[in-house]
Symmetry: C2
Subunit: 79 residues, 2 copies
């Protein structure tokens, strides 16, 4: 089963990578870029077709490894 | 104008970050994960409402800074 996990920093948490990219874009002349935020998308190919179990297991993967629950929110999309 | 750029490694290009995450998941017991691939999503807030110009400028940003055109494909979504 294909699973997509979208991970984004919580809106109230600063995004230092995005800030760095914005600064680099400004240095290249793209001064119209007011804000940059970066998300991560993780595509998993899981050898299991039990949707409930996959959702539960991916949720544990996110909290243990894939996401930082202090700084980030995540969304799990099956299929 | 809000712009979203989705950047993914070309399918034929190995994804070492994904391979590392898969190995870590296996070490944590998630051996059902057969493959992991990572994409990046960049959200830009651009101070410009001219769609054609924004698309052209973001395309240049991608090729100059945001994406690696040798390894990655990117998709620009306006609005």
């Amino acid at each position: 089963m294909k699973v997509t996990v979208v991970i984004n920093r919580r809106p109230e948490i600063a995004d230092p990578e995005g800030t760095t990219v914005r600064r680099a874009l400004h240095e290249l002349g793209f001064t119209e870029v007011a804000e940059v935020r970066m998300d991560r998308v993780i595509h998993l190919d899981v050898d299991d077709d039990d949707q409930d179990r996959v959702r539960d297991r991916v949720d544990v993967m996110c909290s243990r490894l894939l996401a930082n629950p202090v700084l980030e929110d995540y969304l799990v999309v099956l299929g």
